[in-house]
């Protein structure tokens, strides 16, 4: 633009209020589009991780094998105080879960804890919050080990799981750490770890299991005895239609059985539309003790004692038992065939979820 001497530059006046409205509407649309574009960009590219690199899992962040476990203490779900001193002289398996309830781990841990209690295993759970789910689980199925409530994350920080939602540490009787991971283990890994340190050997064939029954199979005609009446009968004579068989293998201790009876009674009372329960015990149990236990626990369902090894569910020699768990649950179909077969803890976890 040529400037003429004496001419002054002046802004062109706006064309009234209408132009201003259009202008502001345009700005609003442009801003909205900008925001949308930014949101899209942020969703597409991980700018945050560019600016703030993820925390390195440096060695010093975690506890490691060979270190001594720090002292920790807390209050259990029942409001009792608990100190890590109580683990002295025992193998301590401490696990942590922040929010999400590892139901199957809790139940399987309980089974392992009971199985190896006499060999010196003590379990301790640590949780950040007491969820309704956890309360219901403990109400339905009391656990044999304490769960510490760690609302202020003190125990978590002492065990250095700040950046994780789960953690597990195995502590030897002298207080040294044998194994530590910032997560929970699978059932198989947990069993291997416990067997390695408390049994001195790992039973690798467990995955083959002693269970040789498949869905759709018909149960053989094993010989049984009704514990209450003393009557001898065979498995085929039972009314298995839509029923549930709870089979206690020879690896089960009587203490273990008594604990499970409480739980089974609770399930028995609360069952909805399922068929009859049949509690069958391995041939190694004593009929007298079972009868006494069933009376004490007021079990209404029939209780049977096997008169011969149930070879499709457990080996003839109890010492060679390699079952993942001690108690099995068989669900039967309307025509008396096997619908599912699996460990009790899986079944309890499924009922709990339902």
């Amino acid at each position: 633009m040529d400037l003429v001497p004496g001419h002054t530059l002046r802004a062109k006046p706006l064309d009234g209020v209408k132009s201003e409205r259009w202008f502001f509407a345009f700005i609003v649309v442009a801003l909205a589009a900008n925001i949308l574009a930014l949101v899209t960009l942020f969703r597409r590219y991980d700018f945050v991780s560019w600016l703030v690199p993820p925390l390195p899992e440096a060695e010093h962040v975690h506890l490691s094998r060979g270190e001594r476990v720090p002292d920790f203490f807390g209050t259990t779900l029942d409001g009792l105080s608990w100190h890590s001193d109580s683990l002295k002289g025992r193998w301590g398996l401490v696990f942590y879960f922040r929010h999400r309830l590892p139901t199957e781990f809790l139940l399987y841990g309980d089974m392992l804890g009971q199985r190896y209690e006499s060999r010196g295993l003590s379990l301790v759970g640590v949780t950040h919050e007491v969820s309704d789910e956890l309360k219901r689980l403990v109400q339905m199925r009391p656990l044999s080990y304490p769960i510490l409530v760690d609302r202020d994350d003190r125990v978590r920080d002492q065990l250095r799981w700040q950046y994780h939602d789960y953690g597990l540490v195995l502590i030897d009787p002298q207080g040294g750490i044998e194994f530590v991971v910032p997560r929970l283990l699978t059932k198989s890994d947990l069993r291997q770890l416990v067997e390695k340190y408390l049994l001195g050997r790992i039973r690798y064939q467990s995955e083959q299991l002693s269970i040789r029954l498949k869905p759709g199979d018909v149960l053989p005609s094993y010989r049984l005895m009704d514990v209450r009446s003393g009557r001898n009968l065979t498995l085929r004579e039972l009314d298995l239609t839509d029923g549930i068989i709870v089979f206690f293998t020879a690896s089960c201790s009587l203490y273990h059985v008594s604990r499970y009876f409480d739980e089974l009674r609770a399930i028995e009372l609360g069952r909805k539309g399922s068929g009859p329960y049949h509690f069958i015990f391995s041939h190694t149990f004593s009929a007298l003790e079972l009868d006494k236990l069933a009376r004490e626990r007021e079990i209404a369902s029939p209780v049977y004692l096997a008169r011969e090894p149930f070879t499709l569910l457990e080996p003839a020699d109890p010492a060679s038992a390699t079952a993942e768990e001690d108690i099995l649950v068989l669900r039967m179909t309307a025509d008396g065939r096997v619908k599912t077969v699996g460990p009790l803890s899986d079944w309890v976890a499924r009922i709990f979820r339902e």
């Binding site: 802004a11 706006l14 202008f23 345009f26 700005i27 649309v29 442009a30 589009a33 900008n34 949308l36 574009a37 899209t40 960009l41 597409r44 590219y45 991980d46 560019w50 390195p56 899992e57 440096a58 060695e59 490691s64 094998r65 044998e178 194994f179 530590v180 991971v181 699978t186 198989s188 890994d189 291997q192 770890l193 390695k196 790992i202 690798y204 064939q205 995955e207 083959q208």
Partner: protein
């Protein structure tokens, strides 16, 4: 002033709309279970009609189960030493099972733990020239070195960077694929000293031309399987990309080739197809991004000078020459494909014989017999 505002706002609006339009693209396939039945039905249908194998030359192979009666939980690698002994990594039992040439169990190396001789989810294993066995001790973040008797003779902690594979050169240099360290390959000494790194990370636009160059894919796409030839040249097959590369012993890229043929093209297309419609059934997440798998393993046969690449789709083996040019495909019979036979996760070659493990499915090891193998 008003004009300037208007101009800026208009440009900004157009730019934003372009960005939004440009960013709308289908995400890679995620999840393994959803739509599985529909995909299986489609796979069967295609296998019967226009499955790409119909259009390609494919030689049959037959699988012979090994170690009958021995139950692995999850075998993920099989190696043989010079005496013909078998070494099988049984991942979920945290051990290496050693069998004699008659496939009788001899002993095991390692068990679950964090002690010096322990293992925690072992992965790839490989022998060096002295017949020491190197094993990736995955969840302990270390390499364990055992002699043939199973005694630990060395090892080192490689830091908290995942590795998908391990090879050991004739000079006992250890190559690990640690993409999170910024390069494709990290080279370590047996004592654990980082000697050098080489190889560029894979970009999305290079892997799948036409895609935007999104940096979040760089590390996940740079996960590879590796094998060495007799001159220590390194061949890599990308797990999530239909590309193979060859590096020389000094780490220089010699060539890079895309997998060829209708099947490879189909796999590339299927990578971006929505999971419900994808024929790539196997997906994997190594760096937090679930993606369909293209190549599961690579092995080099120094007798035939051939590369064998195990593809994820119905266990087809892609055979290439040492320059990466496709020769042919190896496949199971159509009946076996339709029966959904167990799929393999690793492929190894020992003395000219192919071995595969099916650790993710039936937990068995197999020897693969190729029809007219001499003509390969």
């Amino acid at each position: 002033m008003f004009n300037m505002f208007k101009c800026c706002a208009l440009r900004s609006l157009i730019a934003c709309l372009m960005i939004i339009a440009g960013t709308i693209h289908p995400a890679p396939v995620v999840g393994q279970r959803a739509g599985k039945q529909a995909r299986d039905a489609r796979l069967r249908e295609q296998a019967g009609k226009d499955f790409p194998l119909q259009k390609e030359k494919a030689r049959r192979y037959r699988k012979i189960p090994l170690f009958e009666g021995f139950k692995f939980t999850s075998p993920e690698d099989l190696r043989r030493d010079s005496q013909g002994n078998y070494y099988v990594v049984d991942v979920k039992n945290h051990r290496i099972c050693v069998f004699d040439p008659e496939m009788r169990f001899k002993y095991q190396i390692g068990r679950l733990g964090q002690g010096p001789e322990d293992l925690n989810h072992p992965g790839r294993s490989v022998f060096d020239t002295k017949e020491n066995l190197y094993v990736v001790d995955g969840d302990n973040w270390r390499i364990q070195i055992f002699d043939k008797a199973g005694r630990r003779v060395g090892g080192f902690h490689y830091g908290y960077h995942k590795t998908t594979d391990l090879v050991v050169t004739r000079r006992s240099e250890i190559y690990l694929n640690q993409a999170t360290k910024g390069h494709l390959i990290s080279v370590y000494s047996p004592e654990g000293k980082l000697l050098r790194q080489f190889g560029e990370l894979m970009s999305l636009s290079r892997a799948y031309p036409g895609r935007p160059n999104d940096p979040k894919y760089r590390v996940p796409l740079s996960r590879v399987k590796m094998t060495l030839d007799e001159q220590d040249n390194l061949y890599v097959a990308y797990i999530f990309v239909p590309i193979i590369q060859k590096y020389d012993a000094r780490g220089r890229l010699l060539w890079e080739r895309r997998l060829e043929g209708p099947l490879a093209d189909l796999m590339s297309q299927q990578f971006w197809v929505n999971e419900k419609d994808s024929l790539l059934r196997l997906t994997m997440s190594i760096d937090g991004l679930q993606m369909p798998v293209i190549c599961k393993d690579i092995a080099y046969d120094d007798r035939r000078r051939r590369l064998f690449i195990l593809l994820s789709m119905v266990d087809i083996i892609y055979v290439a020459d040492e320059n990466g040019r496709k020769i042919e495909l190896l496949t199971q019979s159509r009946d076996e494909i339709l029966r959904r036979e167990p799929f393999f996760n690793t492929l190894t070659i020992s003395q000219g014989t192919l071995y595969a493990t099916a650790g993710w499915s039936d937990g068995k090891c197999y020897r693969l017999e190729i029809t007219d193998a001499n003509k390969l």
